[in-house]
Assembly symmetry: C2
Homo-oligomer: 164 residues x 2
Amino acid sequence: MKHHLKNLLPIAVVLVAACTNNQKTVEATKNDQPVFPKGERVSNANFTGTVWVNYLAETDTVHHVNIGSVTFEPGARTNWHYHKGGQILLVTEGKGLYQEKGKAVQVINHGEVIKCPPDVAHWHGATPDEAMTHIAIGTNTNIGGAVWLQPVTEEEYKYPDETK
Amino acid sequence: MKHHLKNLLPIAVVLVAACTNNQKTVEATKNDQPVFPKGERVSNANFTGTVWVNYLAETDTVHHVNIGSVTFEPGARTNWHYHKGGQILLVTEGKGLYQEKGKAVQVINHGEVIKCPPDVAHWHGATPDEAMTHIAIGTNTNIGGAVWLQPVTEEEYKYPDETK
């Protein structure tokens, strides 16, 4: 676990350095009140960059959902993955990116809701220069949870041209 | 619909008047950044007081949940009701009250998560002197939705003594 964090550190340093040119964004983020505390730092290989998770509701045999507030620091993102029962994302802070396999990367903003259909590979995360927090609701967890795939490469992790 | 709003207006005026003694609370609420816009004013008989709803995700035949951000102004609350498939509440702002039939009223605060089991009658809302916003997630909507019962009376709508 510690080895993994060490491996991520150079990436985080580069991202912080890349971010300093965008003073306005950094100030806006600093003034935000978090909806939920950002929780624990994620230290597994299913993510690139610095990610925090606050588990709000574990799945159970009654409601069949799990809920977590996930914070991606600039540049951070999930690996490609899919959910056996689907997922819904509620963006509560900042600006992020979302992509389904075979489709264009899209920008997702504070206030937006994304429905990820079951068994469709996708990834989500921050933009390169702004953090993003979403509430992630795993649905139909009685069918199954997330299935993790390969990391999102630097080539795949691209801000859509039209929003630059 | 218009008739109903008119009926609620005197209640709202009384609640605003009751609230002016608590300047600190009013100021704190005013400075909060809403996570989601508060949406449309609710104008049906399933609520007492002034309530706003922002529908974030309608139910569908894939995810089996519906999601709304609901804002209760001070004194406002749902009627008693239950959900055929259960519900989960994420308190995103302020302080509220929650009660299940036969149990004590409990205070629910910003950051807390409440799981309402299926078929258990309950109500939720603001405290008498502070607004509350929660994200309400209806679960297992393929089983059924909310079943509405009688209003929460002034006698039932009580701030628990131990938190006064």
